[in-house]
């Protein structure tokens, strides 16, 4: 039950920033074929390269969807450089629950898509700790 505390269920049931934004500056989607989770991220930036709008679409387990919803909220207003510094620990802190090694991939799918979408990065510091 620890993994399904109210905040996570709230984000899962009422996912924030859901629905893709128009004319996105970042547009990236990826599957986790093992679980069937799917996330599509769109982000629009202003002239100062600051995030003005985030739009997610996708489906998956409560952990992957809540993590995307929480990360999306945290992204709004950040600069591209600040986006780059989102880490695994930030996600785990937002979720605020112990994540078993098996579910780490669910929790980090949104971060992986942000990193890949914004920077074409296939890995980031800390990922290998998985």
């Amino acid at each position: 039950m620890d993994m399904y505390r109210e905040l996570i269920l709230d984000h899962y049931q009422n996912r924030r920033n859901w629905g893709l934004v128009e004319d996105p500056d970042i547009d990236y989607e990826e599957d986790n074929p093992l679980c069937g989770d799917h996330l599509h991220l769109t982000v629009r930036l202003d002239d100062a390269r600051r995030v003005v709008a985030v739009g997610w679409e996708g489906e998956g387990c409560a952990i992957s969807q809540a993590s995307a919803s929480m990360l999306g909220e945290a992204m709004v207003g950040k600069t591209l450089d600040e986006l780059k510094h989102f880490s695994k620990d930030d996600i785990l802190e937002m979720l605020g629950i112990p994540i078993s090694p098996v579910r780490l991939k669910c929790a980090l799918l949104s971060l992986k898509i942000l990193k890949a979408g914004a920077y074409g990065l296939t890995g980031w510091p800390g990922e290998e700790d998985e």
């Binding site: 039950m1 993994m3 399904y4 269920l9 679980c35 069937g36 387990c61 409560a62 579910r103």
Partner: protein, 414 residues
């Protein structure tokens, strides 16, 4: 319930499986329903492996000393027991591998390289585990062969209505599962085997799920090859079986090369050992084979016909109880024909979430695609939650599963 209790003395059986008697956390006893992934081991198997290491272990087939002779006798004895278990005509038809997956690869590679020509056809089914798809896809690509698939009906059965078309042309191999690891469907393969043989094709049966749960007679089935794993039938992991008709095994070139699979080696080449040893390169999984022999003894003593009958009753009860769970039977249980497993899938809840919440209540199930992505695509699903039973599961454990599902639904009540 009286009739069920006369089928199997489940309480006595449970005493043989030490791992079942534990709590996943204080006050929450384990309910192990992930048997299609792997089974638990009885004391008889655990002790047989320990005793073998304590008293008899050495390498097989080579040493002229007491331990090597005892070890060889135990290893070859396990082969003989395994042959009897599936009614093979000879122990020489039993090849020890690492697992059912390796058994498929062995035939796909060794038989395929020698026998498949460009344009030849391999027929599989949409119901297969990846282990009975990918090895055939690989060899088909290498040899320029074509792969066709028997479709699956909405009820989860093989659709054999188009079999004549599927079996037309140079069909050389038909590979099909005996029991689906997702649907639980038991395929009555006799018709398929006959039809395949009529067009001159061989038949490879994936018995990974069937051999552990029902009596299997390879001669009655007339299968040319049958693959299964020790770990799903109360035996150790790391030991698997390939049954093959002797003349077919003899005609096949080796799979892996090395020690024990040769008679004579010169700098120019080698002469292969007799079957089955031709296919057992290197030091085999000796203690694991001995453990498999003990598992065969155990299952034989309980009786495979009784195990199957008991599991049918248990499955019937589980499907009946699943109907009660809010959301409707359609949302929770896909009815299965004669099978023992049910793929649960519930609208609005992801299988990973269901499995995690069931685990909270001590109930171990499997969530995911169960290495059968094409089958899930067939039913427009990405993943399912699977509860699968074995001889040591009880009606009370089914009740625990149902209670846990109610709990999961309550967490996600929205």
């Amino acid at each position: 319930m009286t009739s069920v209790e006369t089928l199997l003395n489940v309480e006595a059986i449970r005493q043989d499986f030490p791992v079942l008697h534990q709590e996943v956390k204080p006050g929450v006893p384990l309910v192990y329903l992930d048997n299609a992934a792997s089974s638990q081991k009885p004391t008889q198997v655990i002790e047989a492996v320990s005793e073998f290491y304590r008293k008899h272990y050495a390498n097989v087939h080579r040493g002229i000393h007491k331990l090597s002779e005892e070890s060889t006798e135990a290893y070859e004895g396990a082969r003989a027991k395994t042959a009897t278990f599936i009614n093979a005509a000879s122990r020489r038809e039993i090849v020890f591998t690492r697992n059912a997956t390796e058994s498929v690869n062995l035939v796909a590679q060794a038989w395929g390289r020698a026998n498949l020509m460009p344009g030849d056809v391999i027929v599989l089914t949409e119901m297969e585990h990846h282990a009975n798809i990918v090895p055939w896809q690989l060899i088909a690509k290498e040899r320029g062969a074509e792969v066709r698939y028997v479709p699956v009906t909405d009820d989860g059965l093989l659709d054999l209505s188009g079999l004549d078309t599927l079996l037309s042309g140079p069909v050389k191999m038909v590979a099909a599962t005996h029991m689906s690891n997702v649907l639980g469907t038991v395929n009555a393969l006799e018709g398929l085997v006959q039809a395949a043989h009529d067009v001159g094709a061989l038949v490879f049966v994936d018995g990974a799920q069937s051999v552990s749960h029902k009596p299997v007679d390879v001669q009655a089935l007339d299968a040319d090859f049958l693959a299964f794993s020790g770990h799903k039938m109360c035996g150790p992991s790391g030991i698997g079986v390939l049954y093959g008709k002797r003349e077919l095994l003899e005609a096949m070139p080796p799979f892996l090369a090395g020690g024990d699979m040769i008679k004579r080696v010169t700098l120019e080449g080698a002469e292969w050992n007799d079957v089955p040893w031709k296919f057992e390169a290197g030091t085999p999984a000796i203690a694991q084979a001995v453990g498999l022999g003990a598992a065969v003894d155990y299952l034989t003593r309980v009786g495979m016909d009784r195990i199957y009958a008991y599991e049918q009753v248990l499955l019937g009860y589980a499907l009946e109880r699943l109907e009660e769970v809010p959301g409707g039977a359609g949302a929770w249980a896909r009815p299965v024909q004669e099978g023992r497993g049910g793929g649960l899938h519930a609208g609005g809840m992801h299988p990973h979430d269901i499995a995690e919440l069931l685990n909270d209540r001590g109930v171990a199930v499997r969530a995911g695609h169960h290495c059968a992505m094409p089958l899930h695509q067939r039913f427009n699903l990405v993943a399912t939650t699977r509860a699968s039973f074995y001889l040591y599961n009880t009606r009370e454990e089914v009740d625990r599963l149902i209670e846990a599902l109610y709990y999961a639904k309550s967490v996600f009540a929205f």
